[in-house]
Every structure is written in C-alpha cells, then in structure tokens.
Amino acid sequence: MKQKEALLGYAFISPWLIGFVVLTLGPLIASLYLGFTQYNLLSSPKLVGFENYVHIFHDHNFWQSLYVTFYYAIFSVPLDLIVALFLAMMLNQKVRFLRWFRTIYYLPAVLPPVAVAILWNWILNPQYGILNRFLGFLHLPQPQWLVTPQWTVPSFIVMSIWGVGTWMITFLAGLQDVPLSLYEAAVIDGASTWKKFWHVTLPMISPVLFFNLVMGIIGAFSYFTQAFVMGAGYGGQGAGISNSGLFYALNIYIQGFSNLNMGYACALAWVLFFIVLVLTLLVFKSSSLWVYYGGEKE
C-alpha cells in the first residue's frame, strides 16, 4: 500500500522531475562545464581552464554591466517597494471605489514589457515627451533622459515605478490579513499613526516584504526586455548611448547570441548566479531579525 502510494506520488510529479533533470539540472551542469571552454556553436567546445573567468575581471563591459545593474537595483527595488506599500496602505483604508483604484494601479503591470518600453521611450523623449512637458510645467529641470549617459539608468528607474502593481496587490493582501484587534490594542495603548505602522503593520506584513524583496532582487538582476528594447533606439545592440544601459543580462545576451561566445556567456552567467545567491542569502540570513511569522509556524 505504502509502496503503491509512493509510486503514484512519483508518477504525479514525474512531469516536473523529468523537466527538472532535462531543462534545469542538465543545462546547469552543462553551463558550468561550458564556462571553462571556448565555444561558438559551430566547432566543438575547447577547454581553456579559468581563462574566461580571468578575462571577466579585465573586461570593461563586465564592470560596466555590473555597475549599471547595481545602480538600477539599489534604487529601483527599494523605491518600488515603498511606492507599492504606500499605495496599498492607502487602499487598505475604508475607501470607496477601491476596485477602480486597485485596477488603475495594477493595469500597467499586465502590459507586455516590449509595449511598455516603447511607450516610455516616447514618454521620456526629452523634447516631445510628456514627462518633460510636465516637469517644465512645474518649473522643474528637464533631464535629457535616455539621450545622455548619466540619465539612462534613472530613466529605467522612473519607468519601473509605473509597474509596481503586482507588488501593490501582494502588499494589499498582506495588509488585509492583519487582525484589526492589534490596531485597536495599539490605539488603547495610545500609539500614534507612525507607531502603529512601525510596531503593528510592518512586522505583520514582513513576510510579504521579504518575498517581494527577494523576487525584486532576482528581477532586477535578470532585467532584459526593457533594456534591450529601449536601448535599441540609442546606439547599437540595445545598450544605449556609450553602453550606459548595458544591463548584466543584456551583456550575457550580446556575448552569447551576437558574438557567439557561448563559453564566455556561461562564465558571465555563473558570476551572476553567484552574486544573486550571495544577495538572497544575505536577505535570508537577515530575515530572522526582521521577518515576523505570527502563528504560521508548522
């Protein structure tokens, strides 16, 4: 009976199990191996030892892509989380038309990233775009968004705020799960709005914050489509003016699929994997300090 149950279990999970071995584990091992080779898809891979990894540290484009990606991640992830939480908190009050507001904030997040990127290419047009028109109306400086290197990454950060809808909804769900009795207790203890937020709201939604933070970091380090599409209007291969929009994932794409340096692209990917792993481990390790799991323990 037990054996039959086990067999049935394996049978049910077999699609994933096979897929995992063929589409994840196999490619993972293959890419680890290819990282030590020179391979252009046409002739068979040639082992070169650590050459690719040594080359990475002398590669100007690697450092540029690392800089661009970190710059983007450090600003966009916290900023997006704050905006998403702020919107969710407003919607968590007894507001009317909640469905409408929620829909409006979520709408941009369902659009195809290519369409979003092209639209923002136009919105951010320094001369004819709506954003600078708006800034001019407020007598604020009008940056040369994607047209000058120093404004390229900020362009992507500004655009990312428009897509916070998904995070907003997870926050809203988390907020609606916070027991009202906790707020009532806090009010009786004379807690101010800020104290209620700090001592009740934040601890209670910290699991959601944690989830969003981890997914946000992974997302920022795999950022590709918008970078490719928007940069394509400004210089070769989608990297923007003087590589100012050369995100890490874009660099891997260019090395692997434009230059056919498959081995080098694998080495770059493993360095990315290592960076993301270290960052998520740091978040996981720190989570015992700030993530609060109420009665959810197993």
């Binding site: 037990k2 149950e5 086990a6 067999l7 049935l8 279990g9 049910f12 999970i13 699609p15 994933w16 199990l17 897929g19 995992f20 063929v22 589409l23 196999g26 993972l28 293959a30 890419s31 290819l34 407003m90 507001v95 929620r102 829909t103 409006i104 979520y106 709408l107 941009p108 369902v110 659009l111 195809p112 990233p113 290519v114 369409a115 092209i118 136009w122 004819y128 709506i130 028109r133 909804i169 997870t170 769900a173 799960d177 992974i218 380090f221 590709f224 490719f228 394509a232 209007g233 890490y248 891997i252 692997g256 498959m262 692209a265 694998c266 990917a269 990315l272 994997f273 993301v276 792993l277």
Partner: protein
Amino acid sequence: MTSQSEIVKTTTRTRRAQGNNSARSRFNRLITYLLLIATSLCFLVPFAWLILSALKSSDEIFVFPPVWLPKHWEWGNFAKALTTLPFGRYALNSILIAAANVVGNVLSCAFVAYGFARFRFPGRRILFMVMLATMMIPNQVLLVPQFILFHDLGWLNTFLPLTVPAFFGSAFYVFLLRQFFMTIPTELEEAAKIDGAGSLRIFFTVILPLIKPALMAVAIFSFQGAWNDFLAPLIYLNDPSKYTLQLGLSQFQGTFHTEWNLIMAATVVVALPMLIIFFAAQRYFIEGITMTGTKG
C-alpha cells in the same frame, strides 16, 4: 469606588479622543482621496498619451511644445501600422504559442502539485524544496545551455522551444496549486476511493473541479507569460514569418523609429489583448497574486 471612577474617567477620555479622532479622520480621509486621485492620474496619463499619440498626424506628433489633443484624429494610423508589417501573422503565432503554454502549464502543474500535496514518498520534502529553489536561479544561467540543447535537437526556428517546456511544470504555478490542494479535506478522496474510483479518476472528477479558480489563475498567468515574452522568441525564432507580436513590435520600432504615431498605434494593438483579458478576468489575476504572495 476608586476603580469605578477610574473607569468613568478613562471612558470619557476615550470618548473625547474619539471625538477628536473623527474630525482628524475626516481630514485624513480627504488627504487620502486627494492622494489616491493624484497617484491614479499619474498611472493613467501614460495610457492617455499612448492613445492620443497614436491618433496624431506625422506633423503633429513633433509639434513643440507637445499638444495633448490631435487636431485631426488620424484613425487611419492603425490601418497603416498594421499593414506595413504582417501583424495578423504575428498575432496568430502569438495565439498558438500562448494556447500551448496554457494547456501545458495547467495540466502538468496540476499533476505535480497534486503529487506533492497528497502522496507520501521518499524525498518528497527535499524535492519540493529543490523545486522552490529553482525559482531563485536567474534564467540567464540556463539561457545558453538550453539554447544549445534546443539547437542540437534541431528545434531552432520552430515553436517547440517556446511551448514544450510548459508541459514539464513550472515551480511558481505548482506552488500556487499545491496551496489550494492542501485546503481540500482528504475525506473527499477517501470517500471516492471506497466507491472504487482510481487515483486518476479521483483527480480528474473530484479534485480538479474543486480548484477551478486556481486553475484559471494558472491559465491566465501562463497566457500572460507566453504572450508578453520577448527574450525566448528573440533567440529561438529568426524567420520573420514565425515572429510573435512582441518581436514584430520591437522590429517595427527599429524600422519606423521616426514615425512615432505609427509606432504608438502598433503598440496600442499589441497591448490591447492583454488589457481586454485583464478586464474580463481581473478576479483571477488578483486571487493568483494574493495566493503566491502571502500564504507562505
């Protein structure tokens, strides 16, 4: 006595505090609504700008300073944009790929999730953890070796690399469906078992109908994922007759980079199906996200 008067005192104090609160809360509510309206306008303006730009003439799109409303509404822009590239062909390709992804993901993820939720077998916990861990792998790490794999299989320039993987489950959706299966009491299966039904039959006739909303969420997310995907079609398809809408749109931007009114018209067309689906099935989008985000 003293305690009683203390109680009276506290109640009056609370009442007074409540009186202050209601004036304050009315003010807070006003601020909240003002902020809600201002922020939602910020979220809506890009949509308005997109549609109005799509309806301007080539001259008007480059008027400085920019104007909001077109003088002549150029509805012909849509026809012009759609006929310069074979967008009908691209749409058909996108639909085929997205439909295959929906079928593949719903079937395979339901099977796998049920296996993890209901059966005891050696290594179950570890395998489940491994599956969740795969979500942490940036897809760039698998990109090159998967490309080589599909290249060696002779699958380049076919829809196979874009559809077949969906039939092997996806960690995110399996996790979502497993959460739903866990809420179904096991008594249901036991009763069906006593009636003599086999596992497959129980799965299809008893369990699956109970998690329809979750299956809808998976269907919609996999449709969205496949429809919006850009990177995979970009590396696997090179014959223009096989392009998807996303590839077509990005190519359109490259070709017509100065005719922003036509580019915006094409963008509206490519974004529209997602908007329609979103309005039709909003509930499933939101339930799906809610499930993945909070119930860890």
